[in-house]
């Protein structure tokens, strides 16, 4: 946690405040007091058993996500960030601590927390693009009939895929599939969108374009997103708030503000990237001092 406060003063901290005020939709519960977090993760320890071991994936992780946040969890592989996201999704339950969404404890998966996975097979291959987007709307009873189709088309247009509404997923490229998955998640207008390295399996060019598109979508609708990645540049570019986790087991190293939007190529961003890098790999640096990338 040593680098945390210094960094917070260095970067402009009010991106988060802005977004909280500007949250334009009626998605916020009216009785929600200002400043009360949308998602509250309190001292969450995640443990799971394999054949021979009991593994602690995260240890007493706490953080809060506000309405309209682009909250990024970043850390090296093995820091339990995906496990943490699955716990927020309700697929796993914490061995210690609790996760509160809008004042209610999360106990199981639900459509108020739509997941976007890394894998391309998250789209159901037996449904067309449009059916994939309308399916959760219909099964959860959120919308029916034409209303569901209209909502789905509206979000497919946002991700520029309305021409492919009647194609099957196997006819699309990897990037297009991820866009459908994002449209599907957003069409449900969930309290929070959970993204588990959704661009990790894409090539670098597509990945960069998808990041721009995601930011453009956020400008339009100001959804709240919890995004997990292992890429520091991606975290700086996409997030307004970044949580750093250390590996084995995952513990909070810092929770910091990112650089303002559109400055991901500035010197400030580069400095922030170095800081994050140093913090995440602090353990290795003590072992091999020459390897510090200054």
């Amino acid at each position: 946690m040593t680098g945390g406060p210094a960094l917070a003063s260095k970067t402009t901290p009010d991106t988060r405040l802005q977004s909280a005020q500007q949250a334009p939709r009626g998605r916020t519960a009216p009785n929600q007091e200002a400043g009360r977090p949308l998602l509250d993760v309190r001292g969450v320890t995640m443990r799971y058993k394999t054949q021979a071991h009991l593994i602690t994936a995260t240890y007493r992780v706490s953080f809060s996500v506000l309405q309209g946040d682009r909250f990024v969890v970043v850390g090296p592989s093995g820091c339990g960030k995906s496990t943490l996201l699955k716990a927020v999704g309700g697929y796993l339950s914490p061995t210690e601590g609790e996760i509160i969404l809008k004042g209610e404890r999360i106990t199981r998966p639900g459509p108020d927390r739509m997941m976007v996975f890394q894998e391309f097979d998250q789209l159901l291959p037996w449904k067309t693009v449009l059916e994939n987007v309308t399916f959760p709307l219909r099964t959860t009873g959120a919308l029916n009939g034409k209303a569901a189709t209209d909502r789905a088309m509206q979000y497919l247009e946002k991700v520029k895929l309305s021409d492919f509404a009647h194609s099957y997923p196997h006819m699309l490229s990897g990037g297009m599939k991820q866009r459908v998955a994002i449209a599907r998640g957003m069409a449900m207008e969930p309290d929070i969108l959970l993204m588990d390295e959704p661009f990790a399996a894409l090539d670098a060019l597509t990945r960069s374009r998808m990041q721009d598109e995601l930011l453009a979508l956020w400008d339009e609708t100001r959804f709240t997103v919890l995004f997990v990645t292992h890429s520091i540049p991606e975290a700086i570019k996409l997030g307004n708030r970044i949580l750093l986790l250390s590996p084995h087991p995952g513990q909070v190293k810092a929770e910091i503000n990112s650089v303002p939007r559109g400055q991901e190529n500035s010197n400030e961003a580069a400095a922030l990237g170095r800081e994050i890098h140093d913090m995440l790999f602090a353990d290795q640096i003590t072992k091999a001092p020459d390897a510090a990338g200054e």
Binding site: R108, M114, M115, W126, F135, Y168, H170
Partner: protein, 288 residues
């Protein structure tokens, strides 16, 4: 030795599409014909029929192997006088009932198996015991229990269909990706809706393979059972037709009966199952 810094940047002009001779060209007629699956399969059938015809004529012993033309003649005359259609219909009726009951039971058993550990163990044990057991071996018992009629036929049919289909279904359900399952749970799907909306479509390639195997098993069992005890409720099926013809040394009719079974098999495979495949797993890109 060229140093990295000495190497110049290289820029090339690319040709426009109009400067190429051929970008796209239709295939020749012969290539187009060869690309038709049904034509290739038809060619294989013609060659087989020709070989049969030539061998039959060369052997010149219609009691052992009548030529293809004689078998076709017998087939045509018995189809025309209504014998074969009647027999085939009575076989197919029993077959469909047995197949449907077997499939439904397999479905129930598999859903039970995936929803609990004891269910999985139950299905594992049952298939391990009964799948290798030939249906015909149960026929004597079935005859005692259900009498000489459709009841015992359906019993052995269900036995031959159920285990093969449930083994394939279970393998299919187990192979459904964790992501697809999580997607279903994300939408609050539970119980039978989860099975119907996520598991069955996701496991459909395996289920379809199971149904095909089950169908083939059912045919074999039915014909064999009819050959063993023949007439059920006064009217025999195709197996009995073959048995009768053999007893009267009408060998071309025996072959006609066999041909009918083959033809029905081909029709079901290429008509029903191919159609289901094209509409489902192929359209969904789960199978090429």
């Amino acid at each position: 030795m060229l140093q990295a810094s000495e190497r110049p940047n290289i820029y090339c002009e690319t040709l426009g599409p109009d400067q190429f001779g051929i970008i796209e060209k239709p295939l020749t007629l012969a290539e187009q014909i060869y690309n038709k699956v049904w034509l290739r399969k038809l060619a294989i059938l013609v060659v087989l029929a020709l070989a049969w015809e030539i061998y039959g004529r060369w052997l010149d012993n219609p009691l052992l192997v009548p030529p293809f033309s004689a078998a076709v003649q017998a087939l045509i005359s018995d189809v025309a006088n209504g014998t074969i259609p009647k027999r085939a219909l009575s076989s197919i009726e029993v077959l469909l009932v047995g197949f449907a009951v077997g499939t439904v039971l397999a479905g129930l058993l598999t859903v039970f198996a995936i929803s609990s550990k004891i269910g999985t163990d139950f299905l594992d044990t049952m298939t391990a015991m009964f799948n290798p057991l030939p249906a015909i071996a149960l026929l004597p018992l079935a005859l005692i229990w259900f009498g000489l009629g459709d009841g015992s036929l359906i019993f052995v049919l269900v036995h031959s269909v159920m285990w093969a289909v449930s083994l394939n279904m279970l393998a299919g359900f187990r192979g459904v990706s964790a992501t697809a399952r999580m997607v279903g749970r994300n939408y609050n799907l539970k119980g039978l809706r989860f099975v119907g909306q996520i598991l069955i479509p996701a496991a459909f390639p395996s289920i379809l393979a199971g149904l095909k195997i089950g169908w083939a098993f059912a045919w074999r069992t039915l014909i064999a059972a009819e050959l063993v005890f023949g007439v059920s409720s006064g009217q025999g099926g195709l197996g009995w037709y073959i048995f009768e013809s053999k007893n009267q040394l009408e060998i071309p009719e025996v072959f006609a009966g066999l041909l009918t079974i083959i033809l029905i098999g081909l029709a079901v495979e290429n008509g029903v199952f191919r159609l289901i495949e094209a509409r489902t797993v192929q359209r969904w890109g789960m199978q090429t």
